[in-house]
Symmetry: none
Subunit: 188 residues, 4 copies
Amino acid sequence: MTEHHGDTRTRIQQVAFDLFATQGYEKTSLREVAERLGVTKAALYYHFKTKEEIVQSTVEDYLRGIDELIAWAEEQPRTLETRQELIRRYAHLVAAGGRSMRFFHQNPAHGAKLGEEFRARMHRLFGLLVDEDAELTEKIRAVLALFGQAVSVMMTSEESKMPGGPYEPDEVRKASVEVALDLLEPRP
Amino acid sequence: MTEHHGDTRTRIQQVAFDLFATQGYEKTSLREVAERLGVTKAALYYHFKTKEEIVQSTVEDYLRGIDELIAWAEEQPRTLETRQELIRRYAHLVAAGGRSMRFFHQNPAHGAKLGEEFRARMHRLFGLLVDEDAELTEKIRAVLALFGQAVSVMMTSEESKMPGGPYEPDEVRKASVEVALDLLEPRP
Amino acid sequence: MTEHHGDTRTRIQQVAFDLFATQGYEKTSLREVAERLGVTKAALYYHFKTKEEIVQSTVEDYLRGIDELIAWAEEQPRTLETRQELIRRYAHLVAAGGRSMRFFHQNPAHGAKLGEEFRARMHRLFGLLVDEDAELTEKIRAVLALFGQAVSVMMTSEESKMPGGPYEPDEVRKASVEVALDLLEPRP
Amino acid sequence: MTEHHGDTRTRIQQVAFDLFATQGYEKTSLREVAERLGVTKAALYYHFKTKEEIVQSTVEDYLRGIDELIAWAEEQPRTLETRQELIRRYAHLVAAGGRSMRFFHQNPAHGAKLGEEFRARMHRLFGLLVDEDAELTEKIRAVLALFGQAVSVMMTSEESKMPGGPYEPDEVRKASVEVALDLLEPRP
DNA sequence: AATGAATGAGACTTCATTCAT
DNA sequence: GATGAATGAAGTCTCATTCAT
């Protein structure tokens, strides 16, 4: 579905997202994006109808990935094995999501539309990990298992230098999954 | 230390923060805050020199609390017992922080100054929980033990309805601490 | 006519005028004046009805002095001797005017009222120094004879450090008068 | 060096400066400028980054002219002949300066930057006209020779109607130069 | 495929001023 | 004699967006 408008389009998305993730969506003006690309603001409007659309188009794949994951999980039996696989797959999504994923977690309160869409998906994932009548501690464990995947990616990024780091993305993903699986392990 | 400017000052902080936490700092205009309070924008400027100052002044206590916690921990022996107590105390801070804490976690990329100050503190807490040469999984566990406290508060708030909820703040705090302590438990 | 409202009134005038002369009337806010005095803005309004009134009341004496000079000159015969005495007296006024005089010359475009009143007086003084059908060079000499008195005072002030200075006010006044009288001397 | 932004840019400078010179920089709002041009305020900001920049860009040529004059004079022998030529050239600059020059002399206290830059140049010109250890009267004569050029231009302008006027700009320039040269003439 | 010029809305902020106490 | 709290008007500036070229 990603039309091939040359590569300016892609460069816009990249530059815009790096800025969005660093400074926030609101704080980043299209003037800034345009300047950094060496084009005019108007050029951005040739490729995208609105500022929001830059976000949407970039984030689309990521959201679709989550949707597919949800769809898959809903067809599986509600077993521990499924839950574990869910985490494993989600970790891959998050790791691949890169920019997109960073954006969501850095701009949670980001103007209604997208923010809400993202939160909705998180809730459904959560619902797939834990029963409504489960113990509170179990619920918290589930939330952390989920959030843990994002946190790990953040820890990897250059800016938020973590002591001992930096780590290889893959190494981090494996470790977070390990921690998450442990969190999902049933307690006596 | 908070001067007694009557109570308009306090009302401004409350209204402003509820809006900041809900819609984000940038998306919330002082016009909105003023209208909701039934005063003019200029009135806000009588009490605070700048929009940022509304945030700063409100968040001050919370940050100071963390600073004190850090100071305390740095004087303790680096034992498991200390780390556990650190989490317990941090959980109390977060629970009491309410508005302030919500703001930080919802606006992490918020304009340099405050955002950075907050992140710096998180790093120091992290450094107190785990050694620099520890296993990566242990580090991730530490981060989650910390973030877990914030996540819990969010789960309590009305908007982000969590299935089975809402829960009592106290109940949630205890549960998150339990999960966190478990995460800190040394693995073989 | 200067009521004796204690001395706060006078202190306000002094502080205000130093700021007006340094930064300009518009650039100086009453907040600044009040702060430098250690009182509230509202206090200024106890002593003066408006910002403009601070100026008016302070400048009053100076303008009245000029008015009297004009009145005096208009009763004298239109001789060189009179013109010379006019300059001498004007030089004294300017030297005594200090703050007031500085203000006028630093804020010539200052909002209609006062600025215009001042300019009108300059014109009348000018008319007393030179005939309407005189040579253009003679007119220019007259203007400079007049302006020269103000310029001298400015040269004395600390900020606009003049090489070789600073000079004694009195010394400067005498020198400027000398130059001015020379300018008025009839040319062949 | 002045980029060719079409001619709106130039119209802005003209309209703005006429207002600045008439009412002062502070008293003139960009709303006023925009209205008089039949554009929106935002249009001004397309052409100039700030209100101050409108001034700067317009005044640039004038300041550069003075700089060149100073540079020239500093390479000449310090003779009476040089000083006289300095005045002649300065008179031309001032006459050509028109709007720019009017602005400086009407807004001497204008916000630090530009005002200070202008004053600095005046000081250097002054230093070129007179030795540091000269008689005080000689210094005053030099200052008047300099200021005289500006005063003349002001006298020409429509608003400050001078009796017997209005005069031709060129006629005025010649007369002021004559007066100035006389002021520079060495006294016994 | 992109630019130059412009707009309308609205943001933060500052100011002179008022008035009950 | 002065303050604390507030206001209304206005100011500078920024932004997302449009459109003819």
